[in-house]
Symmetry: C2
Subunit: 75 residues, 2 copies
């Protein structure tokens, strides 16, 4: 499922930056618990919030999505 | 805004296919009025629903997002 793989990739990119979930939440102006939920793929993220996270991580959103589509199981 | 450009690109791709909103809704298993709302950029679309639309249009989601990020105003 795309949400699950997207969450894994967000977590991996966050870890690569050496950031806590709290730090990513601050940088992307989202709530810390929301970031946790997204990383676990538990909630359907909106494209706009996903863009905020990608921006905070210094990636274009399409790149984050591509990683997730290519590494994940297709739906 | 990304949602607006994404909606424009979805509409453009749908038109390229010669599809009505109704047809795109059927193909992507979403409600017809929801497709209209998304094309006008009025509602924040989830990544999962956007994936359904991209699949129906025969595009990888990252490609649809890339078009929208590169043609749109950055947020």
């Amino acid at each position: 499922m795309l949400a699950l793989q997207l969450g894994r990739n967000i977590r991996a990119e966050r870890s690569r930056n050496g950031w806590s979930q709290e730090r990513l939440a601050e940088e992307s102006r989202l709530h810390r618990t929301y970031v946790g939920v997204i990383e676990r793929g538990e909630k359907r993220i909106t494209v706009c919030n996903c863009k905020k996270i990608a921006c905070a991580l210094g990636l274009p959103l399409w790149e984050l999505i591509r990683m997730s589509e290519e590494n994940g199981l297709s739906e």
